[in-house]
């Protein structure tokens, strides 16, 4: 159990540290690299919670797909001019105040919520005979078949839409 705690804190540090570097760096490439570190930390958290399929999806899809897309776009658009200017907008005080209010609210409910709000301990999942990927596939392709197909249509629309957006003349 101790090794689990150590791994949790290491991955939490990677996640939060990467996230903070992502939103504070001036250079967008540095932000993207920090975001990759943060996403890898989240992937480690999935592995700690025995969600092995999501761990693989997180690395293949996020780190391998979305972040490569981000790096492509960063290199396509010229960010040198933007890096020399102010990085934070004029409303950053209001933004920070709003986020601090929401954070205080969340913290209040963590510590003083209803007496039975966060009382669930860690239930040990029953030792199943099938693996995580098989369990996910069983549920995904039986109970969630219609949402799965709708998601495929959504991806098709996104592909067509991004091509239409990025192309000079249709």
């Amino acid at each position: 159990m101790l090794i689990d705690s150590i791994f949790f804190y290491v991955f939490a540090l990677l996640t939060l540290g990467g996230a903070i570097f992502t939103i504070t760096r001036r250079n967008a490439i540095h932000s993207a690299i920090s975001l990759i570190v943060s996403l890898l930390g989240v992937a480690g958290l999935y592995l700690l919670q025995h969600a092995e399929f999501l761990f693989a999806v997180q690395i293949v899809l996020y780190v391998g797909g979305i972040m490569v897309l981000f790096l492509f776009v960063i290199m396509l658009v010229n960010l040198d001019q933007a890096a020399k200017e102010r990085q934070f907008n004029r409303q950053w005080m209001v933004g920070l105040a709003a986020v601090a209010a929401v954070g205080a609210e969340i913290a209040y409910f963590f510590y003083h919520g209803g007496s039975d709000s966060f009382q669930f301990g860690e239930t040990v999942a029953p030792a199943s005979t099938i693996g995580n990927t098989e369990a996910v596939a069983d549920v995904l392709f039986s109970q969630y078949l219609l949402p799965f197909e709708i998601a495929s249509i959504l991806l098709l629309v996104a592909v067509v839409g991004s091509v239409v957006m990025a192309k000079k003349r249709i």
Binding site: T22, V77, A82, V99, E122, V139
Partner: protein, 102 residues
């Protein structure tokens, strides 16, 4: 050292959500605003997987997969819009795109 419970994951997820919200609200660079949205979606996913693990079912992980699909579609369309915007306005700063303001 306390064992890691679901509440630890919820606190981490709340912190990641707040960091992402700060990024969306305060940065000027649209690329970094899109990255902050990815952070927010990841916070949601941590929550879903934590509850899925606590309950002992995989439905939360299915929803996390759908959230990832949404994140992919959002990033693709958002970056396509950004490229079209840069071609027309030569800027990636969100508060310089004020064509409708007069």
């Amino acid at each position: 050292m306390h064992p890691i419970t679901t509440v630890h994951y919820l606190a981490l997820s709340a912190a990641l959500l707040l960091i992402g919200t700060v990024g969306v609200l305060t940065r000027r660079n649209i690329v970094i605003i899109l990255m902050s949205i990815e952070l927010i979606l990841n916070a949601v996913n941590i929550n879903l997987v934590a509850f899925s693990h606590a309950i002992g079912e995989v439905h939360g992980q299915i929803f996390a997969i759908f959230v990832i699909v949404d994140a992919v579609a959002e990033a693709a369309v958002g970056l396509g819009i950004l490229i079209a915007l840069f071609r027309n306005k030569e800027t990636v700063l969100a508060d310089e795109i004020d064509l409708l303001k007069w």
